[in-house]
Symmetry: C2
Subunit: 237 residues, 2 copies
Amino acid sequence: MAGTRENASLHDRIRRDIEGRIMSGEWGPAFRIPYEHQLMEEYACSRMTVNKALSSLTERGLVERRKRAGTYVAVPKVHRAALDIADIRADVVASGRRYGFALIEQTDREATADDRTFLAMPRGRVVALSCVHYADGRPLALEDRLINLEQVPAAAAVNFESEPPGAWLMAHVPWSDARHRITAVNADTDIAARLSIRTDQACLSVERWTWRTSERITYVRQLFPGDMHGLEAAFRP
Amino acid sequence: MAGTRENASLHDRIRRDIEGRIMSGEWGPAFRIPYEHQLMEEYACSRMTVNKALSSLTERGLVERRKRAGTYVAVPKVHRAALDIADIRADVVASGRRYGFALIEQTDREATADDRTFLAMPRGRVVALSCVHYADGRPLALEDRLINLEQVPAAAAVNFESEPPGAWLMAHVPWSDARHRITAVNADTDIAARLSIRTDQACLSVERWTWRTSERITYVRQLFPGDMHGLEAAFRP
DNA sequence: AAGTGGTCTAGACCACACA
DNA sequence: GTGTGGTCTAGACCACTTG
C-alpha cells in the first residue's frame, strides 16, 4: 500500500484508513467499526479527532452511526453522483472553445398561466427569454428561460444580448436551492432549425428550477444535441 | 423570521444563521464573514463550535476560507446537483410499481478489445450481460453490462436470471468510485424492439464506470425511453 | 510581523437505544 | 442501567498568507 499521503491531518488519515478498509472489502457492509475509544487508543489521539473522521464518513454515506449500538459500514443503496452543471459560457470558454451567443427573443410580460405554474407565482411580471449558445460557431444549446421579476426586478433592465442570462443571474442573484430534471426528447422542426440538426434528433433536456428561500427565481430549459453534449458526473464531491 | 428550529445543535444553528444571511442576499458574494473570534462572542461559545459551522459551509461550497484573510461568501460558479442513481429494481419497487426483469444474454468470455477498453484491463475474462427492466409490464430500461471477472470472480457463478446484476453487484461488491456519462441517443431498430418504442425515439443513456481502488469493476449502459424516465437531481450533496 | 484559520487535547455532560 | 455517539469547552500550537 504505497502512496499514503504524508502531509494530511490526523483526522484525515484516520478517515482514509477506514475508507480504505471499506473500499477494499476488508470491512464489508454491516461490519461494526471499532468504537471511538478503541480508535483513540489505536491512533493515540483524542476522541474529537476520531469523531471528526467518523462524522465525515457519515456525511459521505459510507458508515451509519447509531447511539449505543456503534458505527457500521453502510450498505450502499444508490450511486450518488455529483453533477456540476456550469454556466454554459463558462463551460465553453473553460474548454478552450470559442463562445457565441444569440438572443432570439426577450419579452417582458404579465405572467401567463404557464409562467405562473413554472415559477409558482400567483401573479406578477416575468421576463421570457429564448437564446442559442454556440461553441466554435456550432449551436450547442437552445435555452428557454423565465425570470420572476417580482423576485429579480433588476432583470427587467438588463440587455441580455450582451450577456447570457445564466451568467448574469449566477453573478447577480443569490439562490439557495435548485432542482434539475434531465430527460431525452426528440427535436421538433423548430428546435431542429435552431440547433441546425435534423428533425427527430435526440436531444438532452436539462430543466432547472431555482429557488431563493421559498420563492422561485427562474426556470430554464436547455436543449443540447445528443451527439454534442453529455453530462459528466463524478462520484461524490 | 419565524420557524427557527429549536432542537438543533449550536453549530447547526450557527450554520443555518449564516446560510440564511447568504441565501437572502444580505451577505452577498465576496462579503467577509465575521472572524471566528467575533462569532464566538456573538454566540457565546467556543471556537471549535464556530469552526464546525464554518467548516460545514466550506464543504458545501457556500464560503471560502483563506488563512490570514478570513472567510468569504463564495461566488457560485456551478450548479452542483446531487444525483441519486438508484438500482433500477429498488427504484421501481420504491415507487410502488411492479418490477419485471428479463435476461437477454449472459456470456462468460475472454475480454475482447472493446471489453478491455471499457474496463481498462490488459487481459482476463469478463461477463457480458444484456437485460431489460420492466415497470408495470412496460419496458423501462435496456441494460448492457460488463463485469470484470478478475476483480469479481464470484460473478461467474451467479445466475442473473433471478437477480438483476445491478442489485447483485450493489449488495456484494464494495466499490469506491464511479463516473457517469449522461447523453441522449436515438433508438436504433434493435433498441426500439427491445424497449417497445418506435425507431428514432429519443432515449436517455446513462453510462457508469465503477472502480474499486484503481481497478474497474463494471461498466454499464442503461437506455431509458425519453418519455418514460427522467433523472431528478437536487441541489447539493 | 501579525492575525487568520487548521488542527488537536483532555476533559465534560447529555440523549438515546439497547440489554 | 449502561455504554454509545453528539456535542461542547477552554485552552494550545502551528502554517500560512497577507499587510
